[in-house]
Symmetry: C2
Subunit: 208 residues, 2 copies
């Protein structure tokens, strides 16, 4: 089954201000999120595992694949659909060896060299960015802009998802680069009405 | 090859006060440390991986097995000799399934119920403690004392290693419980002359 990268929700409990993570994710999926990444920092492995078990049930009950950020062990332990790794995570080629050929592996890149490296070393898709400035990830680095995003997209043949600061005001500009989807945190989870926010984003992505 | 649990060194870069981790570990092995656990918190997965690659080379060049704390993904990625998990880490049974039957898996316990659970669910050895108060692990919990340590040892048939605050002043008391070894951080890495400290600890353990 081909993966739908169009509206790729990445979780961030911090942005929910105490609202329930599972309710928020379910609302985002009801609104059209097509792919889900569970991203956690600074919690125990057991807490991450417990969240991931519940999240997998939820995502898969909606036929949405669950990708785990960074932690290959959690991805294996819950038999997640995939793993997303960045430049600070374990080497891509080793992740691919351990995960096997059937799991989805995503790789974060911010320039064409990293993109080519990712394509060559077993990534199924690339997360390219941060396209714009973002408050969601403290370690995100400087914005690459839509120009470099397009260069990255044009340099590889695997799907590319735009990451970082993408929302209703710039979604048109992003889609023109030819990328396969957008990765969204605050434009969905940062809104009071998450179903509505996800519908708006999904609608805009499809209509543009 | 049977594992020698007698003097089990657990790393802690914090206690080294800037001294080189690899030099310190090599000195501890030269002094008699028989088993090595790489324990890291709050570093990126890539940084942990890079440390583990180097540590595996070092440990295995001295025929000392390398155990990775908590992170099953790092253990798999560097093909470490084993994994040590605690109550806050991924479930023991799942770790065993993923690691397979041949890798060493250790499990932290602080009472006989956890010890029996560990033995039943695939642990090769138990780390029991903290036996005494310790400054090395902020999350260590209240000391169980040598009495409970002995109860734990008597309740299982797999090897038990005493963890937490074990050093030259109490090593005799610990050995009388019948445990198979001691897990040491500060009593070796906290000393200026690490070779000498490890020789003292190893000598005491063997002579008592
Ligand atoms: Ni990471």
């Amino acid at each position: 089954m081909p993966v739908d990268y169009s509206v790729y929700l990445v979780t961030d409990r911090g942005i929910l201000g105490g609202r329930d993570l599972f309710k928020a994710v379910e609302d985002a999926i009801k609104g059209g999120a097509s792919l889900l990444q569970l991203r956690e920092k600074d919690i125990s492995s057991r807490a991450f595992y417990d969240l991931a078990v519940k999240m997998k049930d939820l995502a898969n009950s909606y036929d949405v694949p669950l990708i785990i950020n960074d932690r290959l062990d959690i991805a294996l332990a819950v038999d997640a659909d995939g793993l997303h790794i960045g430049q600070d995570d374990i080497p891509l080629r080793i992740a691919r060896e351990i995960m096997g050929p059937d799991k989805i592996i995503g790789y974060s890149v911010s320039n064409p060299e990293q993109a080519l490296f990712g394509e060559k070393n077993g990534a199924d898709y690339l997360g390219a960015g941060p396209v714009y400035a973002t408050g969601s990830k403290a370690d995100a680095g400087l914005p690459i802009g839509p120009g470099t995003l397009k260069t990255i997209k044009d340099s590889v043949s695997i799907p590319v998802v735009a990451i970082g600061g993408v929302g209703i005001t710039n979604i048109s500009e992003v889609k023109k680069t030819g990328v396969d989807g957008i990765s969204v945190i605050s434009a969905i989870l940062g809104k009071l009405d998450i179903v509505e926010a996800a519908k708006n984003i999904t609608g805009l992505w499809k209509d543009i």
